[in-house]
Symmetry: C2
Subunit: 419 residues, 2 copies
């Protein structure tokens, strides 16, 4: 029995490792089209910044030796033939499988034509290229295209190293969140770091010394589609909660699949390492004969923007409106702990449905504790909590850690007044 996994980063190796744990006898082969496997792609901005020295987690040797998982790099799968349970590599070589897991990931949208050095920040190789460039050039003028989290992280990393950074974001919002207050807050914050933000503007074609392109991703779903595997409405591979595709014996996980959004109940495509790892584990378990289920996501994310933690979960008010909810939201700015423990203001926003009182989403911005607070909202979203229930959450309090009314509860109280 041979399990083949296409993709050797987060989802692929989680899947392979999980399958091995469940079935010690299975033959497992991982095919990675690049030269790097098992690295923390989310650390790329910090690798560029010089903070993280290496992003590799495990070597191919480790997998071979410790987990009896064979890994081939530079193995570019160009097609899948489900009827023959066969893959074809770019060189023409054919490989058969009994079970297949597609973890083909995503790719960045192509950068613009420019007579300048242009870099993406998607693979470890991208990171090394950019880092080499930075090592060989004095800081000068850089343009970053894209105000999503990668663009913001890249801008900060370059700024930290002395580059003058202009950040272009075509839409009027940062972080793909239609939240004018959030964007305004970040605009002010970026200004203090002297990042020249051009909101609602495309790259102006000026002569920058370096361009980083981070204008979004696309799922690598073409091979699946060509093999007759169903894609979903988002353009990514459609899977069941067992991470099964529409083709018998073929599973998929990671940035190439869409998942269920637990707030809307509808498919969503969110390319994040957390989901890739968890869903990969589920795909691996099922491919090895187990029975695991991935329930879905609530859209939680966090990003550091020039020292500030910016965390989001669930739906923004705009998204909630588009989903047909009767949207109501409130925000509050409150101290995150006692002032004599250097408490700072944290800004929390909560969105709910007026008809049912159900929480739909929220955001937390703060120097400290944004991750912990967004996780409380995320947990509430998982369980469809109402605002009036949320207001009475028994949250931890002691002066070094939080105020007696946590900013989360202060915001819930404000929201209840409007309901």
């Amino acid at each position: 029995m041979r399990l083949v996994v296409v993709g050797g980063v987060a989802a692929g190796l989680s899947a392979a490792s999980r399958a091995r744990r469940l079935d010690p006898e299975l033959e497992i082969l991982v095919l990675e089209k690049g030269y790097d496997i098992s690295y923390g792609a989310c650390g790329l901005p910090y690798y560029i910044e010089g903070r993280a020295e290496d992003l590799s987690v495990y070597s191919a040797d480790f997998f071979r030796r410790e987990r009896k998982i064979e890994i081939r790099t530079a193995a570019d799968v160009v097609s899948v033939l489900p009827t023959r349970r066969e893959l074809t590599l770019s060189g023409g070589e054919r490989i058969t499988y009994d079970r297949l897991i597609l973890a083909t990931g995503a790719r960045p949208n192509p950068p613009p034509e420019a007579n300048r050095p242009v870099f993406c920040l998607h693979t470890f190789e991208d990171g090394r290229r950019l880092k080499d460039f930075l090592g060989e050039h004095r800081p000068a003028r850089a343009a970053v295209m894209g105000g999503g989290y990668i663009g913001l992280e890249a801008a900060e990393a370059l700024r930290t190293q002395g580059w003058r950074v202009t950040l272009f974001q075509e839409s009027p919002y940062l972080l793909h969140r239609a939240d004018a207050e959030l964007t305004a807050l970040l605009v002010a914050h970026l200004k203090t770091f002297r990042i020249d933000l051009r909101l609602g503007q495309r790259y102006d074609g000026s002569r920058y010394d370096l361009i980083v392109s981070a204008t979004g991703l696309k799922p690598n779903a073409e091979i699946a589609a060509a093999a007759g595997i169903e894609l979903g409405t988002t353009g990514a591979i459609r899977v069941s909660d067992r991470m099964e595709t529409s083709a018998n014996g073929i599973y998929a996980a990671g940035d190439c699949v869409e998942l269920t959004h637990l707030v809307t109940g509808r498919p969503v495509w969110i390319a994040l390492g957390t989901h890739a790892n968890k869903a990969g584990r589920v795909a691996g378990a099922n491919a090895a004969g187990g029975d695991a289920r991935f329930p879905g996501v609530v859209g939680t994310s966090i990003v550091r923007v020039c020292g500030l933690g910016v965390a989001l979960t669930g739906l923004s008010t705009e998204e909630a409106r588009l989903e047909g909810f009767d949207v109501i939201s409130a925000s509050a700015s409150a101290f995150d702990k006692a002032k004599y423990f250097r408490g700072r203001r944290t800004r929390v926003e909560l969105t709910a449905d007026r008809r049912t009182g159900r929480l739909l989403g929220g955001s937390v911005i703060g120097e400290d504790g944004a991750g912990g607070r967004i996780n409380v909202i995320a947990t509430a979203l998982h369980r469809r909590m109402r605002v009036d229930e949320f207001e009475y959450l028994d949250l931890a309090y002691a002066p070094p850690f939080a105020p007696v009314y946590d900013p989360l509860l202060v915001t819930a109280h404000e929201l209840l007044k409007k309901l």
Copy 2:
């Protein structure tokens, strides 16, 4: 219509303020037996330490001027006569009410007989007395009695100021948590701060230069009991979820009442500022003709122990066993964020019921993020989440804030292996 509130700290003033907001015409009188009102008692250890300069939040003048709430200090209520809607003060003065809120608080267990300076750490006055003493004496040998959170905080505050501290705890556990692993971890940590811990030992009668007694609290429920108001099984005043006592028109809130534990469904007495504030607000709303309900607590707390955050929620394995659950628990020590962001190990413990898979409690110990993580467990407990649901929580991930598998999820995975 006159509302009288007995007690002018957390619950009493939350109640009075809430009642005023709902009814601008109500006559509101607060009777406080001490001289201080509206102070953050939880900050006492930091006041002693010299970090917090003042703990007062609002003055009696502020309440009079801004909220039309009359406050009398040194007004010691000695009896309540519900049939006549009348209170008697220690001087013999009688005061009538239409609605009454009892927020009589709790008191520390009496310190031992000792020919030494003995201090409690319960009221602001206690704090000032101890602080004055510390200002007038050179650091020497101090004994702290009690290994609950006040004892531990007091020990740290004294140690910080150069005192040699011996900490006596009669039971074999710290923080009233029958968790041998937790206690062992804290024992080791206290040792590095050179606090001489005597576990399972009573105060030895030695000649210390200062004794701080923190051997627990008792609810001030005597006046209520004498008035024929029902007490609960814990010895504190029994209230409905509207904070009504058994006597018509009399409400109670704060450290003098018992609350519902949402994990067991049974009454529990937990004297904490968070509950006092929230339940006070509910009592005030209802006393003013509103309809608010306090659902209950899950037993969340956090304490700083020599720089370490120690957070608890729900039931310990021992408590869960006594409640008749088929207890299973797991703990894990995992990095709280990327190592290149100075990630440190955090220890998480989760307890569940083997029959249903339902989470029953947990603890988190870490330098950073213990509050945020315990709050996620607390939120899960509020909604009776199972471990297999908890394992797939969509928690925030980015290298500066958390690892791709949060320590919470790592622990849930360990626990699932045992289920």
